[in-house]
């Protein structure tokens, strides 16, 4: 197919056509659910159905235009054919005025000699210089765009379709391809119709000469049993119970009388014509059945046997006339009985019932093939039927379909060829070009081998072919809708000759149908495989899948283990999440649906449900399928979650152990911290006691003293609370925290220890640090670990040089807490390893401090890193996301 403006060489007067000004629009999808081979098939069936109803050529033209209108939605179209003088003439049209037809009649981009014609598309007639002369006619008729679709038979243009549009029209490949499919079917039908009409005309011309001006009638009379003289009309004597009146010259009915062996003993003149013989001499005494096609002989013999037994047999079979036209005969075979009722002869009356097109076996066969394709019959069956349909139509020829399969060749169908030959053919063709196969495959053109005995290509297959009685082979490539070679269709003949035009057309039509069958089969196969693949994938996926409407109604589901669902499928399909799930969960789903519908991104969330008295954990992932369908993929995370919880529990234990160890280490310092307020309380209380003994008691001093007692008591209480928090195994409690406050608390706790260790502390806490979301105890633990680690690193350093610097600063969306020391630093290559468990340079503890600190920080969606300072010592930096910085949740899995 060519878009106008492409290869203009063959169509010089339309070479200037160009649609460059019309950028292509997206392909129309019509209907959107069908793949291209399916749509083509639908159109083929429609054409076949429409043509099957036609009675003559005029009907064909009308049916063609109707099909165009139905399949392409084109309301205005016309159908033209070259007349014998090579002038394009309107044969039928829809929606065109007589004036217009007159104005443009005769115009054609092609001549009867044009070969390889392709559709020509004119998206906008005003931009097409070669059509300028017709612009007034177009304007009058309100035609803004049009298409020329050639009707091609045996490579030659015989006519065209025209499609007309009211406004400029961008053609998509699909509609042009469908138009070409219709054109091919119609061209074939037109050619056959013409052959038929020509044959009928010759019948009509011959009829008066053979049938005595239509007045001759046959009258069957019952002669007396004793009458032996031959009748002047040559009818043998006999006893007939039936009397018939038939005008022979118009209905072409032919009469034969057979003996009880089924041999012809009389044929009337119409019968002689049908059989293509001048005189009955060469027919008489031959078996009637031999005159029929090989496949039909059984039918004939059966009918003869039935009549011989006294019954009346009736059958309908096709038989070719000498001019090549296949006719469909309705045959009644009845017994001729003598006076005693014994059957003496048989009468066969053949009535031509092949009213043009109607009961045409070929047309019907073609339609049957198309229907088989459409209903998805196995490819081998379709191709076998196709071969039969073609073989039925041309007596004696045998057909084969070879399929290109990857690099190899395999048999499509060859129902009438011998098994031996087929085996040789497929075996040989698979290897190298042999027979007509190589020729067909290479140039993609029909190959006619008129004499297999002398053709060089047939050297290797020759003996096998000749042994099977094959003398000539005509083949043509089977092309896909994309014009790739799918295989070949071959017709074998038992005499060495070339094909008739009709036979070539048949081969062409067969290849076309075979192409449609294979295309369709492959697209179905591809679909089936992808469906199988999808099903296999679905089977393999343990996840539950729910197809949901945008309103949250369960439409469909894929669940391997329905028992594990909260509610069985039959109880939730057709219902909404709100009816089925707990309120809070349904809300979560609805929010996710809404987000997935607007963002087009997968929406994930986790939840837990109590099912069968245990808590089960799930993750739902919601994706949008189309504007009002969602897919909800639910994964059971319970096992993973339990494993995670177990790990978290172990971490929790270790973290607690770490804190206990820290506090054990710090017990001296802590005792000191705690004893300070107690000293103050005790001293104040005893002082107060004495103040009371005085007379008069100094009330003001007493009040001040008691205030101090209270303050110190509170101070002691605070320390005890902190200790208890650090010592107890509490669950994670995420709150917005002021990092500076956490830092101060840690320094308070360690103050006396740091004093004892003679650590100089410098703090640089940035004011107004936004809160982080975290667990106070956990973050205290991290800082405690970092501070103690820094102290340990400086234990061997001169006291005057010991300096611990604690800084907090906002760093992008994080708070950075840095603890710098001036100690021994971290050995090369150990910057990461220091966070591994049980890596320690400390004398005390298990070496868990940094490992636990890292897991805590990570659980807060943060990170922790170590680096050596440029001069001396190391700095540990801990980054925690700001509570309002987009990090919504802190997975509190570590403790």
């Amino acid at each position: 197919m060519k878009r106008v403006g492409g290869g203009g060489a063959r169509t010089p007067h339309i070479a200037a056509l160009a649609d460059d000004h019309h950028p292509r629009e997206p392909l129309k999808t019509n209907p959107p659910t069908l793949a291209a081979p399916d749509r083509q098939l639908v159109v083929r069936l429609a054409v076949s159905r429409a043509l099957g109803r036609t009675r003559d050529l005029d009907d064909v033209y009308g049916a063609a235009l109707d099909t165009l209108a139905d399949c392409l939605g084109v309301s205005r179209a016309s159908f033209l054919l070259f007349d014998p003088d090579g002038v394009m003439r309107f044969k039928a049209s829809r929606g065109l005025s007589g004036e217009y037809r007159t104005a443009v009649e005769g115009h054609s981009p092609w001549t009867p000699d044009s070969v390889d014609a392709v559709p020509l598309l004119v998206p906008d007639v005003s931009r097409e210089p070669s059509l300028h002369g017709y612009l007034p006619a177009f304007a009058q008729e309100r035609i803004a765009a049009l298409a020329f679709i050639p009707l091609v038979s045996l490579g030659r243009v015989i006519g065209k379709f025209m499609l007309y549009y009211d406004s400029p029209h961008t053609f998509d490949d699909e509609e042009v391809e469908l138009a070409a499919v219709i054109a091919a079917a119609v061209a074939f039908a037109v050619e056959r119709g013409r052959t038929e009409e020509a044959a009928n005309r010759s019948d009509e011309l011959r009829a008066p000469a053979t049938s005595a001006a239509g007045v001759e009638t046959w009258e069957w009379v019952a002669p007396a049993a004793t009458e032996h003289d031959d009748r002047p009309d040559g009818l043998p004597s006999g006893t007939l119970r039936q009397v018939r009146h038939r005008p022979l010259e118009t209905n072409g009915e032919c009469l034969k009388i057979l003996d009880l062996d089924g041999r012809l003993i009389f044929v009337n003149r119409a019968g002689l014509e049908r059989l293509g013989v001048a005189s009955s001499d060469q027919l008489l005494h031959r078996r009637w059945a031999e005159l029929w096609g090989e496949k039909d002989r059984d039918v004939i013999e059966q009918a003869v046997a039935q009549a011989k037994a006294g019954g009346i047999a009736r059958f309908q079979r096709p038989c070719r006339r000498p001019d090549g036209v296949m006719k469909w005969w309705d045959v009644v075979v009845s017994p001729i009985v003598d006076a005693s009722g014994g059957v003496v002869q048989l009468l066969a009356v053949s009535h031509d019932v092949s009213a043009p097109w109607k009961a045409d076996a070929f047309q019907a066969g073609q339609h049957q093939v198309l229907e088989m394709i459409a209903t998805g019959a196995p490819l081998a069956e379709v191709l076998t039927l196709l071969a039969h349909v073609i073989e039925d139509r041309c007596e004696g020829q045998k057909c084969s379909v070879l399929l290109l399969d990857g690099d190899g060749v395999r048999l499509g169908a060859a129902p009438s060829l011998s098994e031996d030959y087929v085996a040789r053919l497929v075996g040989q063709a698979a290897g190298s070009p042999v027979g007509s196969w190589g020729g067909v495959m290479q140039p993609g053109r029909p190959v006619v081998v008129a004499d297999i005995a002398s053709d060089v290509q047939w050297e290797r297959l020759r003996d096998a072919a000749l042994a099977s009685g094959l003398r000539a082979c005509w083949s043509t490539p089977i092309l896909s809708s994309q014009k790739t070679v799918l295989g070949s269709f071959a017709m074998y003949c038992d005499t060495s000759r070339g094909p008739t035009r009709d036979e070539l057309r048949l081969v062409e039509t067969a290849a076309d149908l075979a192409g449609a069958a294979i295309d369709h089969h492959r697209s179905r196969e591809a679909l089936r495989q992808s469906e199988q693949r999808n099903r296999a994938i679905l089977r393999a996926i343990p996840d539950w899948m729910f197809v949901m409407s945008a309103e949250g109604v369960f439409v469909d589901c894929h669940v391997k283990n329905p028992d594990a669902l909260l509610v069985p499928p039959e109880a939730f399909l057709g219902k909404s999440t709100r009816d089925v799930l707990p309120r809070a969960l349904a809300d979560a789903y609805e929010r996710a649906f809404a987000r997935a519908l607007t963002t087009d991104e997968p929406e994930r969330f986790e939840y837990s449900l109590e099912m069968q008295h245990e808590e089960r954990y799930f993750e739902a992932c919601i994706v949008r399928c189309d504007s009002d369908t969602l897919l909800s993929i639910v994964r059971d995370l319970t096992d993973a979650k339990r494993a995670e919880l177990e790990v978290a529990a172990q971490r929790h234990e270790l973290a607690h152990l770490n804190r206990v160890l820290i506090l054990a280490e710090q017990s001296g310092a802590l005792a000191h911290e705690l004893s300070q307020p107690l000293v103050a309380i005790l001293a104040n209380a005893q002082a107060a006691r004495r103040l009371l003994d005085r007379t008069p008691p100094d009330i003001a001093e007493l009040r001040e003293t008691m205030d101090d007692v209270v303050r110190s008591g509170k101070r002691a209480a605070t320390i005890i609370h902190r200790l208890r928090d650090l010592l107890k195994k509490s669950s994670v409690d995420l709150q917005p925290l002021d990092v500076n406050e956490v830092a101060r608390e840690v320094l308070d706790l360690t103050r006396s220890d740091l004093l004892l260790r003679r650590m100089a502390i410098t703090t640089e806490l940035s004011p107004a640090i936004p809160p982080v979301l975290g667990d106070r105890v956990q973050l205290q633990q991290v800082l405690l670990n970092l501070v103690l680690n820094a102290c340990d690193a400086m234990s061997t350093v001169e006291p005057a040089e010991r300096e611990l610097r604690l800084t907090t600063v906002v760093d992008d969306r994080f708070v950075q807490i840095a603890v710098a020391d001036r100690g021994i630093g971290i050995p090369d290559g150990q910057l990461e390893a220091v966070f591994d468990p049980f890596v320690t340079h400390r004398e005390q503890g298990l070496g868990l401090g940094l490992a636990i600190s890292r897991s805590i920080v990570q659980a807060h969606q943060g990170r922790i890193q170590a680096e050596n300072n440029s001069d001396r010592g190391a700095t540990f930096r801990c980054f925690l996301p700001l509570a309002n910085g987009g990090a919504e949740s802190v997975a509190g899995r570590a403790d």
Partner: protein, 126 residues
Amino acid sequence: MTREDRLNLAIVDDDEDVRLALRRLLRSLGHDVQLFASAEAYEDRPAAVDCLIVDLRLPGLNGFELRDRLRVRGCLIPIVFITGDGGPSPADATAHADTPSLAKPFSDSDLLAAIARAVSVSAGLQ
């Protein structure tokens, strides 16, 4: 309390609550009390007192160091150490056998007894 019983005392402790409470207690017992927040602060303005009450754990110079520096300078002022973490280590205890130390928290009688002991030991040495 007689005038002779009235002692002039100094407290060196970095914890203000402790300082103020001890002063109130000792004053209620009739003694004069001066307060210092660190060893350095006392060294800067060494007051002639009957007894020093010194927290062992101090920022900068700790209690032992303050005593050693006083002794090196020939100042034999009686000293009572107060400690928050169970007293000095065994090594410290041996090295500073002449200096009584008092574990926090303590009662008024303990404190007075320790002061009395320090003063008497000091007097004995002198």
